[in-house]
Amino acid sequence: MTKAGDDLAIDVRGLTKIFGKRTAVDQVDIAMPRGQVWGFLGPNGSGKTTTIRMLCGLLRPDSGQGTCLGYDILKQSREIKRQVGYMTQKFSYWEDLTIRENLEFVANLYDIANKKQVVDQTLEQLGLTTRQNQLAGTLSGGWKQRLALAACTLHNPKMLMLDEPTAGVDPQARRDFWDQIHRLSAQGLTVLVSTHYMDEAERCDQIVYIAYGKLMAQGRVEDIIDQSGLSTFVAEGVGVRDLMERLRGKPGAEHVAYFGNALHVSGGDLNALMALIEDEQVDGVTWRQARPNLEDVFIHLMDRSIDTSVGV
């Protein structure tokens, strides 16, 4: 295969999916190089899951075209399925099968050579050898995620698509999970992870942000922050929380949030924001300009996408 763009794991243009009257995914373009970890972000119901399903051949796009791992997403979904490991948002292995039976079933479906060895090895890696005969349904959330990850990497895929893999998992398990993802990435896998957690987004090489079916931003975290055109001021001190309600909705303050014992006020118009802060000086509260963080940028992007979708 010496096609142009072969270094791209995903190369799709104009991807669109319509459910009834609702456009779930609207003209999304994604160009994603191989061997990287990509974060896929966006508010709930923004079309992340639908996009992932279209990329791995589970759903047929209504329009658009492109390739996944060099295979046509419209015509070669079977080849894509063979080389992609897809982990669904909800645990979707069989709860009434044991851990071992689940892995054996997956191994059989992919027609993996020397199944027993692969399954044994996987159980060993997971640290589940002693519990291999336990029903999958009795595992805790974190262990279920580990089992699912093991099962969807069993067939040595070239690419992983993980749909909110760490939702509802405790911090330690989340950290372990990400270590696994980076380990797999180091082995040359391309990984696409959808998530709501900003700290997870920052663990990714690049991110894609979509809202209400539209692609809002794509690129490195730093670049997205730089390109957002957003300015942020941080207020610290006594009684900053009381400021929150006062600032909210004022011209210039597009987004006001309290975290880390400080108030973050962001806006796209630096002058308006500075003017507002001049007006709102309070004793005991100190203001400083700060670099917007990813969450500020996302909320800014989300508000903007609501504006455009309402405007249409």
């Binding site: 589970l58 047929r60 079977r78 645990f91």
Partner: protein, 376 residues
Amino acid sequence: MFAALNRILAILIKEFIQMRRDRMTFGMMILVPVVQLTLFGFAINSDPRHLPTLLYLEEDSTIVRSLAAGLQNSSYFDIQGQVTSAGAGTDALQSGEVAFVITVPAGFTRELLRGDRPQVLIEADASDPSAASNAIGMIQQIVSSSLRQDLKGEWAALAQAPPPVDIVVHRMYNPEGISQYNIVPGLLGVILTMTMIMITSIAMTRETERGNMENLLAMPARPWEVMVGKIVPYIGVGLIQTTIVLLASSYVFGVPFIGSFWLLAFGVALFIIANLAVGFTFSTMARTQMQAMQMTFFFFLPSLLLSGFMFPFRGMPEWAQAIGQIFPLTHFLRIVRSVMLKGSDFAAMWPNIWPLLVFIAVAMAVAMKRYRSTLD
């Protein structure tokens, strides 16, 4: 006190809202009584009339013609025509085409007028005893009254007791009128309908409900591979059920089995496939296992009532019979009863085999079409 009432009211309102949202359950609550009323009220009749009858007349005379007219006018018998040999009459009984064959022997009129009480033979398909019994019970009276008009003047005395004609009843295929002979083979059909549809629709819906289906389809399994893989185990279940029912039928209930085992096996196979296709179709429509159960019930109820299992098929009005013809159970009941009790062959059963084949083709087509669209 008022607080408790308010809480009860709050729960009550919530319950109504949920009831309204769950269209399937709501539909069941409204539709089931309507269907039951319609079926029980209009369609079901335990005194079947207009039963198809053939005449085998070895002689023709005014008296014989008025006898035939009397049978037709009684509303119990619907004379479909005449046969020219006794064998043709037996064939028609065996295939289930007619319920009765009435034979008037040669010399009937002469013997009647001489007062010798000639015989009239009525052969009845008694494989379903309840369907035939009322007409059989009425025939003596029907014959006597239809002859009364011809037996006038010098023959008027013949019309008095004892009856002028000796009616000989042959209850074919089930001479003792044992209802188990009819019910037990029929139960095979009922049991298979119930479990095949329910088990498949629930087993498939369970995968969707738990999210397993998405996972399965993300792996390299084709839709038809999933379908075959999921259905085949239940064919096995159906065969085990069939074996149990047939063994019980033979050893516990003593139902005779005079037909071809292989013809029955063929019929059972078709019937199981037809039901699995229905179950599969339901599973593509139901989102929850509860809905799959409700759909099963909604198919099962009219199947049971309109197939001729519980009430004589011919007792129902035409429209109900037409609906009944759709259900696989209707045709399967005829096959299983005919093969076991009458020893019917393939040719005689063909009128019930092809509707099953058509049903399978349609149900499979719907299932596959629906199944594809659920992926999207």
